[in-house]
Subunit: 420 residues, 2 copies
Amino acid sequence: MISDTSTMRELATQAKQAAYAMAQAPTQQKNDLLHRMAEALEQRASFLLEENQKDLLEANQRGLSAAMLDRLRLTASRITKMAEGCNEVAALPDPVYELSDFVSRPSGIKVGRMRIPLGLVAIIYESRPNVTADAAALCLKSGNGVILRGGSEALHSNRAIIAVLHQVLQQHGLPPQVVSFVDTPDRAAMLDLLQLEEVIDLVIPRGGEGLIRFVAEHSRIPVIKHYKGTCHIFVDAAADLDMATKITVNAKVDRPGVCNAVETLLVHQAVAATFLPRLQAALAPHQVTLRGCPRTMDLLPDIERATEEDWPAEYLDLILAIKIVDHLEQAVAHIRQHGSLHTESIITNDHAAAMAFLHQVDSSSVMINASTRFADGGEYGLGAEIGISTSKLHAYGPMGLRELTTQKFVVFGQGEVRSS
Amino acid sequence: MISDTSTMRELATQAKQAAYAMAQAPTQQKNDLLHRMAEALEQRASFLLEENQKDLLEANQRGLSAAMLDRLRLTASRITKMAEGCNEVAALPDPVYELSDFVSRPSGIKVGRMRIPLGLVAIIYESRPNVTADAAALCLKSGNGVILRGGSEALHSNRAIIAVLHQVLQQHGLPPQVVSFVDTPDRAAMLDLLQLEEVIDLVIPRGGEGLIRFVAEHSRIPVIKHYKGTCHIFVDAAADLDMATKITVNAKVDRPGVCNAVETLLVHQAVAATFLPRLQAALAPHQVTLRGCPRTMDLLPDIERATEEDWPAEYLDLILAIKIVDHLEQAVAHIRQHGSLHTESIITNDHAAAMAFLHQVDSSSVMINASTRFADGGEYGLGAEIGISTSKLHAYGPMGLRELTTQKFVVFGQGEVRSS
């Protein structure tokens, strides 16, 4: 049982020492390790399912929702997906120790940058036990140590996955502390962890907005935040309306419960009367509820009226807010006021409008003529994703292996000294 | 007088709006602006000197130290240096809107990254009024808005510099709020400012460790920290001892009061008996006080004994701590335990030792056969420097224009949609 400050400090200090060893592991050793982890997770599937049953039983007794139970549940195919995830991370290029940006300086020194692991990363997450294996794989491939703190509802499942990973680490001669686990649901332990700024280099919370705000408010360690995705599509005056319809339908209905689904549609006044009835017809078979601004209501009188609460809302549901704007600048201003810096897309065939949108919208993903649903590490070619950052420091947008590293300066000299 | 929360929020909100305009300014306009600022600072030199006199008078009455008075003082040549700084920033390449890393994805979309300004940056600093002009120049060139909060002791000087910059901004048709100034020495106003995480994107404190810790502890906004520089030189078994002597003398005595001066010397046992007496002789004319570990004391019996407090110390003075180590790994372990992640240099002609040091030391600058004094934005070719980061997130080491920007993802599509 780990619950007092000194014990959390000890856990983190040991993890940091192990992380120094991990940072030196050659690419081939890291890839072998990840392939062996994948094999071990599949071989121990029945053990993982048994332990998961304990969590499901307790969750049932505590009356958790069907959606929560689904997120918590491991199945044979979900275990296979975890294993595949490890293999996919093994296949990604290793960013560690990449040298770049070398210049020769007038003093004689050669200055460049070397990419290095961050050191020790803490991941704080809820429900889904697959995060345990996914996050471990990404942190190990990028040469980091990791401290995992999962939700109390998944304690047996997470413990079981950790036990499997630890066995593989030991077989590879690597310190198991490189994947450390906070083996207590105690919130005080998490608070202790969040104070260890001199040992832990980064905290990534993964879960609902409540968890992320809690971690951000209590952490002395830098936090990568992703509060929510209030994504916008702007249908410009010069949009191909068939394309605009197809993209809006896809962005809303493909998976309405995820953060890159569109929540608000902004429509240029010049095409609103033509476009909106077509869109309404295309969305009708998908049972999407529309909520419109007064000008939208004039065109679609049977829909709901949008209130001020609708504009910043992340519905995560089959609801779409619609606002007619006079011009692109008004669309940009609306996005700046109500957006969440996640993903916005313009639909247009006007190059100047496309470029103006691209330059003026400062969200982490800005798209031209594409569905917001593409905002995803896998779709962007980063491989597995450790999270999506919607704050501009360090990482912005989907975070892959590169975002788990930093760059230090390296200087090659031949005895140069500096004179003031 | 700006002192309550709502007023600080208003100041920041106006600065953020102005920052959006600044982000769109073309490179040529930004460069013209910086050249005009340089001219205006020189033309208004007598006004700046008059206002600076008021600060100096008050500081004298309050009994500030000679060193503090020196930092506070403006002179004709210091004003010329400020102006030159603006011109130098104008000459740097513009990082904003640079596109990179484009890939075509199987879905058909093209994904790349676009470099964009951070948005609104707050700089909190002490004493030196030149920071007002230097920080403004770097933030404007990188397309950011800036909120400046200087020390109470420099209020008249800072106000005067801001007045000159505002006049130039207005002449260029740019909103003066893009360089906003907290025109009150009230600490409560600074605390209000540090809460505005939804408006301000980054806080950079520049000054003593006390100021930096205060800002880091009270900020809800990401902070770039640079607490101190406890820099190390490791003289390896295979070092050229003439080079080691020359570099150590330079790194200690060239400017002992700055953060990239060496504070602790680690010496491989194989060369200690030959090297240390030579080094002592070379340092003698510079009045450097040596503090040694017990093994060093055996070789240099007349020096002071180092205590545990010496190893993490940033002396900023003509004092050098010396420790003899058995091997490179012990040097690395000492640096990890006591270092500040600023700058470390190995002196060696052994390639394997050089590479091991380069990979194992995770400080923000790691050098081979060069003086730690080179750890500096100007020496690295970044141009002017907004600070040095010793935490690994976002920026690590000297920070130039690039570190005042971030990268968003951009997606070019032709109507692509995603199917789950």
